[in-house]
């Protein structure tokens, strides 16, 4: 599906932009945040932390974080949280991107 123009009320809405903070020394590498992030912002890093686990790392499309807060809730170790940056105005690019790349049939995890 393709939108041929911006929605008329696009100025009334905005996309929240989140910043993911990771406390690496607490991570035990269970992988919940990596698996269940709805936008696929995280991946396993190749580095080790002080305990010998692989902490999560932001992928290249890290601006996709919309501060939903699921990683904060699902992390059992209190090692990851998100902070709200300034919300972004909706542009035509965003709408194309969301409708094409984040459609439900798309298997996002294969893109990593």
């Amino acid at each position: 599906m393709k939108f041929w123009r911006l929605p008329l009320d696009a100025e009334a809405h905005s996309i929240p932009q989140g910043e993911v903070r990771i406390i690496e020394s607490r991570c035990k590498g269970c992988g919940f945040c990596i698996e269940f992030c709805p936008n696929g912002c995280l991946k396993v890093s190749k580095r080790f932390n002080s305990k010998g686990y692989h902490p999560p790392e932001l992928v290249f499309q890290a601006e996709d974080c919309v501060e939903c807060g699921l990683c904060t809730l699902i992390c059992p170790e209190f090692a990851i949280f998100t902070q709200l940056k300034e919300p972004k105005k909706i542009t035509e690019e965003d709408i194309q991107r969301v409708t094409t790349r984040f459609s439900r049939k798309d298997k996002r995890y294969l893109r990593r």
Binding site: I23, K28, C30, F32, E35, T72, L73, I74, P76
Partner: protein, 307 residues
């Protein structure tokens, strides 16, 4: 063979405290956690941390400060919660979390008393306390973390282990069917009964924050993965695989009769808010019957004395 030992270094208290201060306070939930206790002892992939996070998030959502809340927990992996929360907590003996919390809830009626314990603690050794507290409708919030075995002692069979599941004491499969906890709590008289898995953290936050508004005995069961005690012998995989399993096999049915919520090994898990009713709690019925009767009797005696 020559063994080389590392040189012993004397304990540096200042450095240890600096290390504790370095990490504490970075996370927004750290104001509810005791400084220096995180990282906790639970295994990687364990769901207990998720339930603790959702409990703290529910408190934050309802604007409940740590001094308005008390947490009582029993023995087991889940019993460690009392040591991690930075509020008035008590770590009781095995199975006796509910009797202690009953006294606390009756002595301090305006305190939110939460019992945070595991399935082996609440339903094996503390089973009678649980059903009688539900019958009396004491003003308690019970969060039961169900991981289908006794995790801390080495994965023994528990009253919630499903039929046919392998544990360290039932290597050929469990011959007994497990408890259906929401059905038991509903039959005993709880006013709020819900069951969620750790795959549903948002729903769990919503359920726990709803229990802060209820007066009476509320029961929330949180099904948590136990990769070392239950997942490994039953070939369910690591904690992440168990979480995916819960995501695929759970079926949300709010308002379903709790009798339908039986758990089978590798079967469907019915989750949802099953029961939400209102019933006078123990303290109000005690005050309206016994205390008021005693006061009336005392006034009659005073009248006789004056006359």
């Amino acid at each position: 063979m020559k063994v080389r030992l590392r040189e012993l270094q004397p304990f540096d208290k200042e450095a240890a405290e600096a290390a504790i201060k370095h990490d504490h306070g970075l996370h927004p939930h750290d104001e509810y956690l005791k400084p220096g206790r995180i990282p906790h002892i639970w295994c990687p992939g364990c769901g207990l941390g998720v339930v603790l996070t959702t409990f703290i998030e529910a408190m934050r959502r309802k604007n409940i400060t740590p001094d308005q809340c008390a947490v009582v927990s029993g023995i087991g992996c889940t019993g460690r919660v009392a040591g991690y929360l930075n509020m008035d907590t008590y770590h009781t003996t095995h199975g006796r979390a509910i009797p202690f919390a009953t006294g606390l809830a009756l002595a301090k009626p305006d305190l939110h008393v939460t019992v945070f314990s595991g399935d082996g603690d609440l339903f094996a050794i503390g089973g009678n306390h649980m059903i009688h507290a539900a019958r009396r409708n004491v003003n308690l919030k019970v969060i039961c973390v169900n991981n289908f075995n006794y995790g801390m002692t080495g994965g023994q069979v528990a009253p919630t282990t499903p039929l046919g599941a392998k544990t360290s004491t039932t290597p050929r499969g469990n011959a007994e069917p497990g408890f259906n906890l929401p059905h038991l709590a509903h039959a005993a008289g709880a006013v709020y009964v819900a069951r969620w898995t750790t795959f549903h953290p948002r729903q769990l936050v919503h359920s726990i924050s709803q229990t802060f508004d209820k007066t009476g005995f509320t029961f929330v069961e949180a099904i948590a993965p136990c990769p070392t005690g239950y997942g490994r012998p039953n070939k369910l995989g690591a904690g992440l695989d168990e979480m995916k399993f819960y995501g695929e096999h759970s079926e949300i049915r709010n308002g379903a009769p709790p009798g339908d919520a039986e758990i089978e090994l590798r079967g469907k898990i019915v989750v949802g808010t099953f029961i939400d009713v209102d019933r006078p709690d123990f303290l109000t019925s005690y005050n309206s019957r016994i205390v008021s009767a005693a006061q009336a009797k005392g006034k009659q005696k005073e009248k006789v004395k004056i006359a």
